[in-house]
Structure formats: structure tokens, C-alpha cells
């Protein structure tokens, strides 16, 4: 039997980032992936690296992770397309405009640069936007990148340190001390980390992770230029609303000269087919912000499934009832952003070290420890 210090199940951006961090610590690693590295949800997302301040725990993890990405930027291959374009959070009315000041304060509170643009400054910064917008919050250190190549970069770096990459190896079961592949092979592991995104509950049914489907569209090259990642302030409501399908405007300039457009969220929706009614709502919303959008040429439309948890935070840490199993999953729409921070948090815990941020808000025990009274509250 092949023996490893740690077997990571799931070769998406989170599993690959963890393989990178743990292999750098000298651990022997196997990275096991059912399909190809970075080809699942990682390949479907927008690739934003964005500090989000919906709650303190989310802000702590995203701000730290974005900073970790920044530290990596000089060593990322060009194909990763890291672009420090920053984010503009767009206000459509005075109520949203008024919310910006509080957001500036909360960002600055964790050391994230943030500034207010009034309507005129916004117009100057992004002339392609609708003239009706009343202002924006600018977060200049946010960035975008191309996730599959970022995952591949992490995985290859781990491989160069001796890690074994195992794409095309679906996992049959997780057992104490071993990962059993569908081909019958068993990998002995000191630690097992489950980082399989939406597929995680298949191997660990008690995980509170459900798919949340999203639609994306990318234009032909030569789309009218926007300079920042553009997100409507209403995005947060959409992102964390627990109700039915929602859409919100989200657009990114890509270094290829293309425009990437989102976003939609459908709780519980399964299957990868493009849903015209959702696409229509999403495009209509986008056209409200970017007049003239209908005339741009669409190159591809696709969907992806975000691995959502009930509280919108990932599961990072030990499984409370299976001491041999670690979790690094449930990142919903922030897996790319927080891959760097998530990998560090899990690696630090696994190695018995302290982390730069408090790991407790992401502890799987908040859902999985049956005796914890909190879990009931979270499921309510």
C-alpha cells in the first residue's frame, strides 16, 4: 500500500493550495482528484479575489486570503492571469450610498484599503456604466485571476516537491487511516483532508453542504473596456439570501480583453444545464448597469455549482467525530478567494500551530458536534 503523511481528496483550488502548503512543510502528499486538477467548480467560477465584509469571520478570512494572494503574485505564471484590478461596489440609490461609509470603516478596520467614489468620480473611473449610479466603494487591492491555472500552479509546485498528483482517480470511500479509490487501490494516510467541494457529502454524508448553482457568460474579445471588477452592493443580499433564485450584477475585465458576466444563485439547484429564465434575469440585471450590453457578443454561457453551507462560511478543521479526517470544503462562492487562507488555516491546525487569524468561526464542529447547542440554532 502507498503511504503518505497526508492524502488530500479533491484537486480543486482549495485541495491544490493545501498540497502546496503542506508539501512545502516537508510532508509527503497525495492529491487525489476524480477528474482533472482544477476542472470542477474551480473551473466554473469568476476567479475573483475579493474581500467580503458580510460578517466579521468572512471579512477576516477573505482579507487575509487576498493579502496572501498578493504575496504570491510575482511567482504566479502569466497564464494564471492575476490582475490587480480592484473592486468597485456600486450604489444604485442613496440608501446603498449611505451604507458605503460603514463598509469603508469595516474594511479599514482589518487593514484593507477602501475609498469612496462619488457619482462623478465613478463616471470618470468607469464611463461604460449606467449614468444613474450614485457612487461606489473602491477596494483597490482586490484582484481577479484564472482559477484552473492557479490550481494547476499549486499542484505542480507540490509535485515538484515530491507530492503525488492523482487526477482521474475517483474516491470510493474514506476510512480511518486510508483512502480507498474506486479502482480498489487504497492509500494509507496519516491525515486525510476532504476538499471535494460539492462532492464532499458523497464521501461524508453528514456534511451540511448543498449545491448552489450559478450562471456565467463570457464575451468575445474586444468587449468595451471596464477597469475594475464591478459588483452591485445588492450582491451581498443576493449572495446570502436564503430564499429562491436570485441574480446580481457582477462583471470582470479579463486580461484577454473579454468581459466575464455574472451572477446568479439557485439554492439546491442541481444539474449543469443552462436555465434560460435565470440567464435572462441575470443579463437583464447586467444590462441595467452596463447599457449597450445586449450588443456585445457572447462567446460562452455555462454554469457551476457552489458548495454552500448554512452560514456561508467554509468548514476548515478537524471533523469532530472522526479524528482521522480533516475538512477543507464548503466555500460556496469564495473558494478561489479564500484558497490561500483556507490552506494555511487547515495546515496550521494539522501541524499544531497557531494561525494569523482565529480559526474557530470555521470549525466544522459548529455543525457536526451533535452535543453543541449552537448547531440547532444554525439549522433553524
Amino acid at each position: 500500500m502507498n503511504t503518505f503523511d497526508c492524502v488530500i481528496v479533491g484537486g480543486g483550488i482549495v485541495g491544490a493550495a493545501l498540497a502546496d502548503v503542506l508539501s512545502a512543510e516537508g510532508l509527503s502528499i497525495a492529491l487525489v482528484e476524480a477528474c482533472s486538477i482544477g476542472s470542477g467548480t474551480t473551473a466554473c467560477g469568476m476567479g475573483h479575489l475579493v474581500a467580503m465584509d458580510d460578517n466579521a469571520a468572512e471579512l477576516a478570512l477573505t482579507a487575509w486570503s487576498v493579502a496572501l494572494w498578493r504575496e504570491l503574485r510575482d511567482e504566479l505564471p502569466l497564464a494564471v492571469e492575476y490582475d490587480a484590478c480592484g473592486t468597485l461596489w456600486l450604489a444604485t440609490d442613496s440608501e446603498e450610498r449611505a451604507a458605503i461609509d460603514a463598509k469603508v470603516a469595516s474594511y479599514r478596520g482589518v487593514g484593507v484599503r477602501a475609498e469612496v467614489l462619488d457619482a462623478a468620480a465613478l463616471r470618470e473611473a468607469e464611463p461604460a456604466l449606467s449614468p444613474g449610479l450614485v457612487g461606489a466603494l473602491r477596494v483597490p487591492d482586490d484582484a481577479v485571476l484564472y482559477p484552473p491555472r492557479a490550481a494547476l500552479h499549486f499542484a505542480r509546485r507540490a509535485r515538484d516537491r515530491g507530492a503525488r498528483l492523482m487526477p482521474g482517480c475517483p474516491v470510493h470511500a474514506l476510512r480511518p487511516g486510508s483512502v480507498v479509490l474506486e479502482n480498489g487501490e487504497a492509500l494509507a494516510a496519516g491525515h486525510i483532508v476532504l476538499a471535494a467541494g460539492v462532492a464532499s457529502p458523497r464521501l461524508c454524508p453528514e456534511l451540511p453542504i448543498s449545491p448552489r448553482k450559478g450562471h456565467l457568460l463570457i464575451t468575445h474579445r474586444g468587449a468595451p473596456v471596464v477597469h475594475h471588477q464591478l459588483v452591485e452592493l445588492g450582491y451581498l443580499k443576493s449572495a446570502h439570501g436564503s430564499g429562491g433564485a436570485s441574480v446580481a450584477f457582477n462583471a470582470q475585465p479579463r486580461v484577454t480583453g473579454q468581459l466575464l458576466l455574472g451572477s446568479s444563485r439557485q439554492p439546491g439547484a442541481d444539474g449543469s444545464h443552462v436555465e434560460p429564465a435565470i440567464l435572462e434575469r441575470m443579463l437583464k440585471r447586467a444590462a441595467d448597469f452596463l447599457p449597450g450590453l445586449d450588443g456585445l457578443r457572447a462567446l460562452r454561457v455555462w454554469t457551476g455549482l457552489r458548495p454552500a453551507t448554512p452560514d456561508g462560511l467554509p468548514l476548515l478543521g478537524p471533523h469532530p467525530e472522526k479524528p482521522w479526517l480533516w475538512l477543507a470544503c464548503g466555500h460556496e462562492g469564495l473558494g478561489i478567494t479564500t484558497a490561500t487562507g483556507s490552506a494555511r488555516l487547515v495546515a496550521d491546525q494539522l501541524l499544531g500551530r497557531s494561525s494569523a487569524i482565529d480559526s474557530r468561526p470555521y470549525a466544522p464542529a459548529r455543525f457536526l458536534a451533535s452535543m453543541t447547542p449552537l448547531s440547532e440554532a444554525h439549522h433553524a
Binding site: 477528474c35 482533472s36 482544477g38 476542472s39 473551473a43 497564464a79 484552473p148 491555472r149 494547476l152 487526477p167 482521474g168 457568460l217 464575451t219 468575445h220 474579445r221 443552462v274 434560460p276 440567464l279 435572462e280 443579463l283 437583464k284 444590462a287 450590453l293 445586449d294 450588443g295 456585445l296 457578443r297 457572447a298 462567446l299 460562452r300 454561457v301 455555462w302
Partner: protein, 425 residues
């Protein structure tokens, strides 16, 4: 804009026209969509104006008299739900509601990369033929054609007739297979005649079997080609090279609709109905089979759509053309040497400038897309996808709408009319 019809047909080549004629003659309201300005498809391109091909003329007049409606310059960009197609027509968009659908999207040439294949002056075999039919002056220009099968001869005949100096027709298949194929044509008088006419037009033109292009050379455009002819290398100075290796069906729309595809062809029953109810497929989508297969399968689909009985003679013809298609597939299969022409620097995907070397670590088409951007550009892998399938044996990727770049507005279906308004008949 909105349209409704009993039967919508995508593609106005022989297969689409035959289906349209049969269905419209039986009383169905038939709408035919095609990207080109005129009906006829690639094989009968220009025949609607010039009409030298008798078979084409017969079907085009029958189509004109059938009552079927034709919408030129129309491209399907989405199939959001059963019974609805979204169509882009120049600057406007159209939603088409239909009862049944016949896919007659035809085929395109199979390109395989070789050094210099992206130089100006290098085109497909049929691509060059189409340009000449559309008015490119070829008189006195030196042309080399390299490829396989009957299309090679058809293109040569066109170029020759327009005054082009065809230096060499290079057939990749070995002589034995080539002549074995030619002899098979004896069993099919229609094919034999076609072959004979073509050959007659090409007296004095040099042909070679076991011959293929190794490299296209030139500073800014094509100046010469290096060929392998029966095991020897030859260099020929020329102005144009037409190089392609047979045809591959345009399966994108069929795949988008969820039709089952097996062995590179859409799976249909005897009514030419795919595994998706009320969606039929005809012509090259069933496996490359040429005009006869397109016409017969088109007629069968049109009759099925109109719920008409099928004449015995048509059934018999169907079995005959299927046998021909089988022989053609065998003959056209690219030889192994053609998979090794490209060097590491040779571009495989010309939309995204992806050289062969970029695919070193990729083990399937999905990885090639994700890691190297193969097929991520404006043609969405139409050229390089088929080449990668041939070069590496990779399975085709799933299709994402709209297939080819379309206006974002065309992907947004127009609002349904209020229920009180009825369509006038």
C-alpha cells in the same frame, strides 16, 4: 421578432431542402433557416443563381414551389427549451416556436495542423473551392490540393474550370485503398457518373496517391509547399494550397439539444428521429455520406414529420447510400503520418494561438481547454477540436451555448405576447 411553424429546418443544403419539400408538399407550415444568403448549402453553393448542376436545379425549384419559407442569414444561437429556438439574423433576433425540428447542419472540413498551415494562401480544399465559386480569381494561379476522397476531385474540377493551374492533386490514401474505393463506385451508377464527369474535366492534371503536405513555406504568404509523394519529398512553388482531410459533421447544435452522438454521428431511428423526441437529423450529421445520403435522409425526415408513408424505393435507396457512406469513412480516415506533421511550435488553435507544445501535459480536451485555452476562442473549437480528436484520440467536449459568438441580446428571448392575441393564420 417571433415566428411559429409546424416544422423548422436548420440548414438549407440538400438534406434540409429535401425535408422541407416533402413536409411542405404534405401541407405542413415549414420554416427553413440557413446562415447563407441563398439555399443550397455548401455543396450547392451558388447554384440558386447560376444553376449548372441539374440535380441542384431540380431540388431548388421544387423547394421554391413547395410553399416552405426560407430565412437567409439566420443562425441558431440557443435552444432554451423544447419547441423553441433563438435565432440571430444580422442585427435582429428571432424566437422560433416549432412542432418538430430537422437538423441539417452539414459538415465542415477536417483540418490537421502542419508547419505553415496558418499562412495566408493556405485554405481548406472545399474552402478554396467556395472562394473561387464566390469570385476569387484563380486564373493563372498555381494551386496544390492535398486531402482525401471525392471532394478533392470536385474542388480540382472547379479550380481547373476557372483557369487555375492545378499542379498536383495529392490523395493521402494508399493506391490500393483509393482504387478499391473507386471500384466500389461501380456498384453505384450515380456515383460512377459523378466520378467520371469529374475525371473528364481533369485531363492532364497530375494526381498522386500516398501523397500529403509536409510543410507550407513563405515569408508573409504562401510561396511553396513541401510534399511527400509516394515516399519522396518534393518542393512545389505555388500561390494557393488547399489542404484538408475529409469532412466532420457539424454536431454542435445536435449536442446542444441533447441528441445522442455515437461514433461521431447523431443516433437516429428509421424516421431520422434522434433520441430527443420531435428532433430529427439528416445528411452529414448521420456520418459523412454526401449529397445522395442527404437527399434521401432529408426526404425520410420530411415524410416522418408530416406523418406520411415512406415509398419502398426510398427505403431501398436509403440502404444503398448507407453502404456508400461506410466505404467513404474507411477511405477518408487520415493516415497516421498526418498526425505527426506538426512541430512543437505549430499552432493547433489559431483563435487563441495555442502551439502544440502547450498541450504537453494535457491528457484530454477538457484539460487542453482549461490549461492551454485550446478552443476557447471565437470558433469555439470547431477547427482545433476536431484536429485534437484526430491527433490525440480525445473525446469531444460538451457544447456551451451559443456555439459561435452571438449578441447577448439574442440570448434573451423576446417576451411572450399577451394571451389574448392570437396568431393569424
Amino acid at each position: 421578432m417571433r415566428e411559429a411553424c409546424d416544422l423548422v429546418i436548420v440548414g438549407a443544403g440538400p438534406g434540409g431542402l429535401a425535408a422541407a419539400c416533402r413536409a411542405a408538399e404534405a401541407g405542413l407550415d415549414v420554416l427553413v433557416l440557413d446562415q447563407q444568403p441563398e439555399p443550397g448549402g455548401q455543396v450547392w453553393r451558388g447554384e440558386a443563381r447560376k444553376g449548372t448542376n441539374r440535380l441542384a436545379r431540380r431540388w431548388l425549384s421544387r423547394f421554391a414551389a413547395s410553399g416552405a419559407r426560407f430565412r437567409p442569414g439566420a443562425r441558431v444561437v440557443a435552444a432554451p427549451e423544447p419547441g423553441l429556438l433563438l435565432v440571430e439574423e444580422g442585427p435582429s433576433s428571432l424566437a422560433v416556436r416549432y412542432g418538430r425540428l430537422v437538423l441539417a447542419t452539414g459538415a465542415r472540413e477536417r483540418f490537421l495542423p502542419f508547419p505553415g498551415w496558418t499562412l495566408p494562401g493556405v485554405l481548406g480544399v472545399s474552402g478554396l473551392q467556395v472562394l473561387v465559386k464566390d469570385g476569387l480569381s484563380i486564373r493563372g494561379r498555381r494551386v496544390v490540393l492535398a486531402g482525401t476522397g471525392p471532394l478533392l476531385l470536385a474542388a480540382a474540377a472547379t479550380l481547373h474550370a476557372h483557369g487555375g493551374e492545378v499542379l498536383l492533386i495529392a490523395e493521402q490514401a494508399p493506391a490500393a485503398r483509393h482504387w478499391g474505393f473507386a471500384l466500389q463506385l461501380w456498384r453505384y451508377p450515380g456515383k460512377l457518373l459523378q466520378g467520371a464527369v469529374l475525371s473528364a474535366g481533369l485531363v492532364g492534371v497530375r494526381t498522386a496517391t500516398e501523397a500529403w503536405v509536409l510543410e507550407a513555406r513563405g515569408e508573409h504568404r504562401l510561396e511553396s509547399v513541401r510534399m511527400s509523394v509516394s515516399g519522396r519529398e518534393e518542393q512545389l512553388a505555388c500561390d494557393y494550397l488547399g489542404a484538408a482531410w475529409g469532412l466532420v459533421p457539424n454536431l454542435e447544435l445536435a449536442r446542444l439539444l441533447g441528441c445522442e452522438v455515437s461514433g461521431g454521428a447523431v443516433v437516429v431511428d428509421e424516421r431520422m428521429e434522434t433520441r430527443v423526441p420531435r428532433v430529427h437529423a439528416v445528411g452529414e450529421l448521420l456520418g459523412i455520406g454526401g449529397v445522395d445520403q442527404a437527399l434521401i435522409s432529408g426526404e425520410l425526415a420530411g415524410l416522418a414529420a408530416a406523418e406520411q408513408p415512406v415509398p419502398d424505393s426510398l427505403e431501398k435507396s436509403w440502404r444503398r447510400v448507407r453502404a456508400f457512406a461506410g466505404a467513404l469513412a474507411l477511405h477518408d480516415a487520415p493516415r497516421p503520418e498526418l498526425r505527426r506533421l506538426a512541430t512543437p511550435e505549430t499552432l493547433l488553435c489559431r483563435c487563441e494561438d495555442v502551439p502544440l507544445s502547450a498541450l504537453e501535459d494535457c491528457t484530454n480536451l477538457r484539460e487542453a481547454r482549461l490549461y492551454a485555452r485550446l478552443g476557447m476562442g471565437s470558433c469555439q473549437g470547431r477547427t482545433c477540436g476536431a484536429a485534437a480528436e484526430t491527433l490525440f484520440g480525445w473525446a469531444a467536449e460538451s457544447v456551451r451555448p451559443p456555439g459561435l459568438p452571438a449578441r447577448i441580446g439574442s440570448l434573451r428571448p423576446p417576451a411572450e405576447p399577451p394571451p389574448t392575441l392570437k396568431r393569424e393564420s
